[in-house]
Structures are given as C-alpha cells and as structure tokens.
Amino acid sequence: MTVPPVLEGAALVERARKAGLTEDELRRIERMLGRTPNTLEIGLFGAMWSEHCSYKSSRHLLKRLPTSGPRVVVGPGENAGIVDIGDGLGVAFKMESHNHPSYLEPYQGAATGVGGILRDVFTMGARPIALMDALRFGRPEHPKTRKLLNGVVAGIAGYGNAIGVPVVGGDVAFDATYDGNILVNVLALGIVETDRIFLGRAEGVGNPILYVGARTGRDGIRGATMASASFGEGSEELRPTVQVGDPFYEKLLLEACLELFKKDAIVGIQDMGAAGLISSSSEMASRSGAGVRLHIDQVPRREEGMTPEECMLSESQERMLLVAARGREREVVELFEKWDLAAAVIGEVTNTGRLDVYEGDTLVATLPARALTDDAPKYDRPQRKPSDLESRWIDIDAPALSDPGQAILAMLARPTIASKRWVYRQFDHMVRVGTVVLPGRGDAAVVRILGTPKAVGIAVGSSARFCALDPKLGSRLTMMACARNLACVGAEPLAVTDCLNFGDPSIPEVSWQLAESIDGIADACRALGIPVVSGNVSLYNDTEGASIQPTPMIGMVGLLDDAERTCDVAFKRAGDRILLLGRLTGELGGSELLASQGRLEGRPPMLDGALELSVQRAVRDMIRAGRLASAHDCSEGGLAVALAESCLAGNVGATVAIESRLAPSALLFSEEPSRVIVSCAPGQLDAVRAIAASHQAPVVDLGAVGGIALEIAGVARLDPDAMREAYEHALPRIAGDE
C-alpha cells in the first residue's frame, strides 16, 4: 500500500483537467489544503466539484426559490423533500435528470435514472408508491430518435416494472432542440411516517459506517463528471461512464431498508448515487459537521484490482451508505444477509471534520469534508439576454385554415400532442393498487394512500417553447399549467420538485435563461403559496456549442382529502353539458400550431394570475362537490385538442357551438392559460355555475355530449375513427412498430 503520488507542474494541471477541474480550481484546492493534493485527492475533488454534484453555477440562483412552508418537513438539501399530509404521514418526493447517460446508452441510462431516484426516496424511510417520467426527444425523423425512444422507454419499463413501483403518468414531447441532448427526468414519490424519517447524516463519534447493497465494480466511474460537460466529437466513447442497473437487487435493497427502518439501529443513511462513495460519505459528514474514516479495502467488490480512486468514484448501482448505532452493526449486517445483500463495516464517524481514507494502514487521502461539499466554488456566471429574443416577439396573425377539420386531425397526429399510450402501456401503471386515475385519462395522476381516505395528485410538465421565447413567463406558465392539471383532478397543490434542464452555463445567454426561469418559478410558487422542496439542475445539455432551449421541468404534488372525489378527462353521458371555465382571447404566440409551421415566435400568452387562480379554485371545488363528469385542461393544441381528447377518452361525441369573433385557427389552437373544459349532468348546471360565480371564474357555454362525432358548429365535423387514427398511431410509427 502506497500513498498516491503528488504531481508537479504541467503533469499536475493535466491530471486536474482530466478530473474535470480547471487550473483555477486546482489552485483554490491548494490554498484550502495548504499543500498540493495527491492524485487520488484530485480525483475526489474532480467528482465533488463537478457541476452535477456541487451546483456551482446554480447554487446562488436556487436561493431565490421559496423552500419553506407550514407543511414542509424536509426541504431541499436532503435526498428528497418531505411534505406533511396529515394523519402522521408525509409524502417524500424528488425529480431527477438522467439526460447525459440516457443519450449515450438509452436503456441503462434511463433504467438507472429510475433506480437512483427511487433510492433517494426510500433512503428517507419512505415506501415508494409512484413514478412519473418527463421525456424530451428530438425530431421524430432524426436518425437517432427511434432508437432513443425505444431504449429509454424500455429502460424505464425494465426497471420500474420489475421493482413494482407504478409509472402513473408523465409528459413526452419531441422537438429539434433535443436532437443532440434528450431529457430523461424521473419523479419518484413515497409515503413516510413523519416520526420515522431518516436523513443523510453521520453523527455520533465512534458509530460504525456500513456499506450495504450490491458490490462495487468499475461501472459509472466519473459519471458525475461526464454529466457535467457538453457533448462533442467522440462522446460515444463515454459509454463506459454509464452505470448498469439491476432492479432485482434494488427490490431486495428496498425491502431490506424498509425492514431496517422499523428498528432503531441506524443514525443516518444515504444513497450512493452520483460520485458514489465519495459523495455519500463527504455529504453525510459535512451535514453533521463530523468527520469520517473509511477503510477502502473493506468495500465489498465484484472486480479484482480496483484502485482506491475507482472504489471511491464508482457509480455502481443499488448501494447505500449508513451509519449504525454503535453495537447494532451485527444486527444490520444479518438483516441484509437475510436478503442476500452484501453488508460490511467500512469505517467510523470521527470528530475531526475530515474525510480520511485508508488503504490498509496507509492514509491515502485526508481532506476537510466541507472542502469537498459546502466549500466548492460558486460561480456567478455572466448573464446576457439573447439578442434575437425580442425580434421573435412579433404580433401573430391567426393563420388561415383551408380545412379546419384536417387541421385538427393534423394537430392530433403531432407527436407531442398524440396519445402516449404506446409509452404507458409498456409501464406497469397499476401495481400497488393505488392508481385511481390511470395514465391517459387524467390531467394529473391520482394515487390513493392506502389506509387513509386520501390521495395524492402528481403533475409534470414543461412548456419549453414558452420558456424559449420568455423563460420567466414560460416558467410561470409551466407552473400554473401543473397547478391547473392538479385542480382538474381535484387536488390542492402542496409543493414542487424541479429538474432545471439547461445548456452550457458558460454561455451568458444560458445563464440568463436559468436565472429568469428560476425567478419565474419563484413568482409562481408565491402566487400559489407553495414551496420547492427538492429537485436537481442539469446543465451542459449542449452538443458542439448548441444548447437546448431552456426546459425547467416541474413536478407538482397535490393532495385530495377524498380519493373518491376526483375527475378524469373523459366525456361520460350523452346530454351532459359542456362548459369552458376561463376566457377565449386567441393568443397564438409559441403555440404548437406555429411550431407545426416551423415557427418559434410570438410572445407566450399573457398570464392573468387572478383569473388563473379563480379557474383553478372553481374547478377544484366543483370536483370536490361531486358536480362534474369530466374536467380537462385546455393547453397544448388548444381547445380543439382538449375537446377531441375528452371525446376519445369517453368513446362518445360532442356538439359544440362557440360564439366568437376569433378566426378559426385562433379559436381552435390558442394555448392561452387559465382555461378548463368541464362537463356535467344537466341537473348539476346551476350548481356548477354558482361555484364558478363564487370564484369569479368566467363561464362559456360550449354545447353538449352526444353522438359519436365531434362537431364544432360551422367549423368542423370529425368522426371518431379519423380522430383515433390520427391520435393513436403517431408514436407507434415513430417507434417503428407500425
């Protein structure tokens, strides 16, 4: 056993660069340590100071987000956020990106994304009950899209189905901006008893540190560093940095951990995710102001001859680091052995504030734990508003439609609009018998909480085109769309998790987009009275200098006090009345209609905060009072798409007549916010109107459910087969199944 060498001069700088550190960062480390780090220590800093682990370009901006509230039990900074839902229960949830690995190796990248976010939730002591996926792919005709779509969906299915956590919904869109950088964001949600929450803390000097789960191999080494850089020529060669997942091990780990949590044998626990053992150990130590001593040769391995650096940086999956109460380690090891999992004491908690790594008797790395975590550099990157932005804010004249019926069918066949049945059919979305509103049926997922009358609603989405045209307004619109989706299933928003997917932050325009977007999310949080409790930032979604359009993915969780009082989008009975809550202004900026003409322009539609909240409150109250047969947010693809979807879901037609001076294209396809299409039995009409009036929500009479066709008087008549043909076949065709 030897101490790793200390390099000098150009060799030192080159070694640091390979680890992902700039020369300035290297000098900063030397100043912090008062010496030059050895090669192992450089590797540890490289991983921990990566954008992915340190949030060095976004940390100061994230401070602008509201993170507190009366229901917050655990806010950002832990493995997942937890919000109180009463009855001694909380929901633990977080959304995380796995964009870079999923582009390089779609199946494993997406699968391990699921595995990682599940561990973040169950490490808190929560039983995972739901997954949601938010995916962005490039153009359908791009040569890589088919393989990426198939691989990502199969990867999520392969992992989620096996572990038995339902994928209850999601959001899938296609756009040229993602041709070289797809987005794979997965949200996991679990239920936890609020007096049995476990945190990632290393406390109690002398307490043993245990490694549990699968054995360590050479997969995923420097994955965090890979995920913190742009793609360029030769990026395919980064494939070995992608981890390989095993859902069977994860299932065993999940059940073993939940069994362990029932005992009082442990002090803290953390998933070994990005940057593996180094991040889990240093983060647990610095959160507690403690130190840790690790004996690297005690780490269970599945490969021979691994170096200390490989062991510390491996991102092998299905592993946890935990701190046991002294004297209880034998019990912990036996429990994991019952589940056929590796478990070993690999160190102890100290009071030095340092991370000391031993190989045998040799101290091979000794660093202040905080130097790796809290004291990582923070960059306030230069920001600049894109020079071409305002030139895109032109007034949009409603395009003429030669055949509105054909235009509606074409819109239904747009991959972003079309049915996602091809995707969710591959996911077990019913396991755990909690899914009350199935995917494809509701604007948000609804999952009941067994043992209580309650349910949670979960909505995910990102209005990326709006964000491209105006990141602040676009982010507010995204947030309000999620809240409106929750309202449409009867849920009251509780809190937010976010994945901020942006490009290269060294580009001033990208940093400006990030800052603006965070401000927009913060504004909407305040308007809704809800905090952000968890999330992640994914930067460097960039290929050869081309960054993606800003895509702040929002996951919003809401509460239903009565799981029975919910609603889906399907029209139910002939004779039911159809109403629109909200207004018809016909704004078309940033709409799918313009996108279908290759145009990214106009200003995103105006958001009237008071109107938006009125509509949300009104629809939620109507559902809670049991007055509605259906409720559907009117957003992507506009009124026409919302009506068609309600008909298709209910397998019934509708006749609507709209008094409006708007051009048909503006009437049918405007994506203005603050609108919901509801239907109710004729006998409920007065009650529905009264609830709308009590919230000052405008009501527009649209027509009635009935027949088999969707008839929009004076505009179009669409028969169900034609709508179904357009709506159902787009994705199977992209995937190559048809």
Partner: protein, 226 residues
C-alpha cells in the same frame, strides 16, 4: 378463510393480493416467506405476480426451487386451492402443477392494460362464481404471457374444460386482434384436472374495488370462499 401469500424475492404484487384478500374481502391473510418450510396453516395459497429472482433466467424457473414450493406442491396434491397470478402462473408451470410454458409476448414488449376476457370451461375453485361465456375486463401486466403447449395438451385442456379464461373482443369472440400477447388459442388462464390449482395472467387483485374503476376481480377470490 386463511390465505397464505407466498413472497419470493422479487414478488411485487404480494401487498396487492394481501390488500384485496384482507381489506376488501375481509379474510385472514398472511405472507409466507419463500424460505419457509410450512404454509402456516393456510387454507388457500396464492402465488402473486412480480419478477421472482429478477426473472433473468426463464420466468419462475428459480422460484420453483424455493423451499416453500415443496410445501405448495404437497398442498396442491392434497387438493388445497392454489392460485398463481401472472409470475405466480409462470411458477406453477415451472413447478409442473400446470402444463405448458410461457413465451415472450408476441410484440416483444411489456403490456399493461385492461383486457376483455371471457370465462370458459368447467367450474374450478377460483372460477365457480363465473359461468362459461361471462365477459368482464381485468388488467394484465406482463412481458411473458404468451402461453404455449403442444397441440395434444391444448386439445386435452380444452376437452377437459380446463381453459378457464380467454382473451376475447367486446362481442366475446376469441380473435387474433383481441389477443394481447399471442397466447395459444387465446388462453389467459388454465386449471389442473382436479380444478384446485388455477393459473392466470390477468390480475384480479387489481380489480376488486369501484374506486379502481373495476371490481370484476372479486369474483375470482369469492369463488374460493364458496
């Protein structure tokens, strides 16, 4: 009645069956760990769905070697009612309690959706509350539900009234279009000769309550209650 729900490593519908049996039907339910060598006084044994041992080999191939399976086989031979759901059905095939085998779904993809089914064959311990021709819907969720057996076995199963569930269309016709996985003769569930052992790919435990939009699965569990 006392239901024993066998838990293999990788079972993931065990809690769902427990919920249906205990909280919906009000029966006694307990989990039986796969390493157990007795069934803890169970009067009905259910092998739930999931991915036992990860299903990296053939589905169910490793689970059938679990210590508890000797007890399950002996229980079945004594005439005790045994229901295998999804992965549990696959395990019953591997254990030789039912004939035939499973292939990958025809479309090679995992399929999760509600499908149209019809009852067929003679009454068994788990289908006595159904009449031949009854149509209802139940969820399926599997990648390997493409049931296969040689022609003579299939003829015999049909001749003896041991095909208890078939995939069908809304008119009750067993057609290729209505078959979600390519299963031979649209078979979704079969029974042994005595009618005490039944395997089915659909998940009745997921359809026992109106809040889930479907309670057709109750009749499967109610059948065994007599």
């Amino acid at each position: 009645m006392r239901f024993g729900i066998v838990v293999f490593p990788g079972s993931n519908c065990d809690h769902d069956v427990y919920h249906a049996v205990k909280h919906v039907l009000g029966q006694e339910a307990r989990f039986v760990w796969h390493k157990s060598t007795d069934l803890d006084g169970s009067e009905v044994v259910i092998l739930p769905g999931g991915f036992s041992y990860g299903d990296y080999l053939r589905t169910g191939a490793l689970a059938r070697h679990s210590p508890v399976m000797q007890e399950v086989v002996a229980f079945a031979k004594r005439g005790g009612p045994v229901l295998g759901i999804c992965n549990g059905f696959q395990i019953l095939l591997e254990a030789g309690l039912l004939p035939g085998a499973m292939l990958r779904n025809r479309g090679l993809r995992f399929v999760c959706e509600e499908v149209e089914l019809k009852a067929d064959g003679r009454a068994t311990r788990f289908t006595s509350k159904l009449s031949p021709g009854d149509r209802f819907r139940l969820p399926i969720a599997h990648a390997e539900g493409n049931y296969t057996a040689d022609g003579a076995t299939l003829d015999r199963l049909e001749g003896e009234g041991r095909v208890v569930l078939r995939y069908c269309d809304v008119a009750g016709r067993v057609t290729d279009e209505a078959n979600p996985n390519g299963s031979a003769r649209g078979i979704a569930g079969i029974a042994n000769e005595q009618g005490n052992v039944v395997g089915m790919m659909p998940h009745p435990e997921r359809a026992c309550e109106p809040i889930l939009g479907n309670d057709a699965g109750r009749r499967i569990f109610e059948s065994v209650l007599g």
